[in-house]
Symmetry: C2
């Protein structure tokens, strides 16, 4: 059962996990250093707990004690109880959802492990077979994968996780510089989908696509170029990975040229003449994921 | 040629069009009352001017005088020149794009006129044939139309205009309570697509769909219900209108039951089991528009 601990001073060191949530640079280094992330709001906290992320600490206003009683009974981490203005003093803004949890990250699979079907263990999983890395469990190998190259906006990453999970993409691979899916804003925009779809992060961008080839994935590079194969016309073989590029520049020339095939979303010629010549990355990802799982 | 008029006082009545741009309620009533809207940034201003919206006034910082010289030479409206801090004092925030224009709205076609192919005149259009309402011109009647029911978020409306225009939807119909596509944020998110795709607003929600039937449109209602026809499988006849519902509740039961057919985007059963049971409205609109124009 969680200890309920009233806290009155925003500078109290016990609540250091929760400081200045809008300071992106501070949060990035603090969260990486301590291997933590912040879940915001009752629903998201419950989903993170249900998928086995350990709670380090909770930060709540009084009105959340009753609705979250069962969860407080089930965890051993401390629950810091604060007034609205102390909450604001700690986090740097008005937390509308009134409940925050600092959670410990779980080990991510490597890209080859992810593509072989290994994923983070969830509560209720049986003991792992011999040889499986700690914290992972074997599952069916993914057949439809999305690969994000250098998407730096947390909202876009979260929105693409939501689309990919909802449409039935099996796994996501991130390039080394992609934004963190467990950053607060990414989790929020994803509506918790970051907990539902397994993912891994490449350690090397330059040789990244080799890992997909080694796992027998055919790679499709999405491009605005209207002379290539439309996404709905491409032949879908057993294992297919869709490559999506960054917000401004799209895919790098290296990944574009290394991919097995280039694919596009057909656009209106009239619209292009009137200067509307692109979709935003989330809309493009939604259409392309839908084409990938058809 | 525009008169360049230095202004030093944020309360100067000559710049009243530009006050408190983040005050949504104030702006809604002010813009409706004066029949104006605000275009933000050089690119958007140029696109609005190119599609024939009359400039009422410009508000610029000094660094924009040179890049926009040709535009200033071409318009007769006054250009108010202000320092950065005066700009901020007027508008209520830091205008990163440093140039604003207050533009007069053009008459919108009625829904029946829009569905008959009438659209707002643009510069260079020939004189209208007899009987065409003022400010409109005849064009090819639309065959693929999107109808938005009560989408209240300006960003979502702008994003859907961008998708619809880029993918080749011919026109958009708004329910009476939909957010204004010419609101500053909607224009910005649409990347100017609100100037590229013709639209009209219903005056009556209850009998709104009758206007589509009268124009021989088959109406498809998008719903999360997974037992109905998938959007990619639906038969596309000559004139088809896709109905999209509001952010929270989706389509009203009246429109759902009145539509000719219900359509869905197929979702992953696994994801639904894990609580990821929906797409956001823009992702859903993107996939559905793509299905509509295939």
């Amino acid at each position: 059962m969680a200890d309920i601990v009233p806290v009155h001073d925003p500078a109290d060191p016990r609540i250091a996990d929760f400081v200045r949530l809008r300071d992106v640079e501070l949060r990035k280094s603090l969260e990486a250093e301590h291997g933590l992330f912040i879940a915001e709001g009752e629903k998201v906290i419950r989903r993170a707990v249900a998928t086995g992320y350990p709670v380090r600490a909770l930060l709540l206003t009084a009105k959340w004690l009753e609705p979250m009683r069962d969860l407080l009974d089930a965890v051993t981490a401390p629950a810091y109880l604060v007034a609205d203005e102390v909450m604001e003093g700690i986090t740097g803004f008005t937390v509308h959802r009134g409940a925050l949890a600092s959670m410990a990250r779980k080990p991510l699979p490597s890209v080859p492990d992810l593509l072989a079907g290994l994923r983070p263990a969830v509560p209720g999983d049986p003991a792992p077979p011999p040889g499986v890395p700690a914290g992972l469990r074997p599952g069916p190998p993914p057949r439809r994968v999305v690969v994000l190259e250098d998407l730096v906006d947390h909202g876009n990453v979260g929105a693409i996780f939501r689309c990919a999970a909802a449409l039935g993409v099996d796994a996501i691979v991130l390039s080394p510089r992609c934004a963190d899916p467990l950053y607060r804003r990414a989790i929020k925009v994803s509506m918790g989908a970051v907990f539902a779809i397994p993912y891994a992060r490449m350690t090397d961008w330059y040789h990244g696509l080799a890992l997909l080839r080694d796992a027998c994935f055919r790679t499709l590079a999405l491009t605005p170029d209207q002379t290539v194969t439309p996404i709905d016309k491409v032949a879908l073989t057993d294992r297919v990975a869709l490559l999506l590029g960054s917000e401004g520049d799209g895919l790098s020339s290296r990944w574009l040229s290394e991919a097995d095939e280039r694919v596009c979303i057909p656009m209106s010629r009239d619209a292009m003449r009137m200067g509307v010549d692109s979709l935003n990355v989330v809309a493009a990802a939604a259409i392309a994921c839908h084409g990938l799982v058809r």
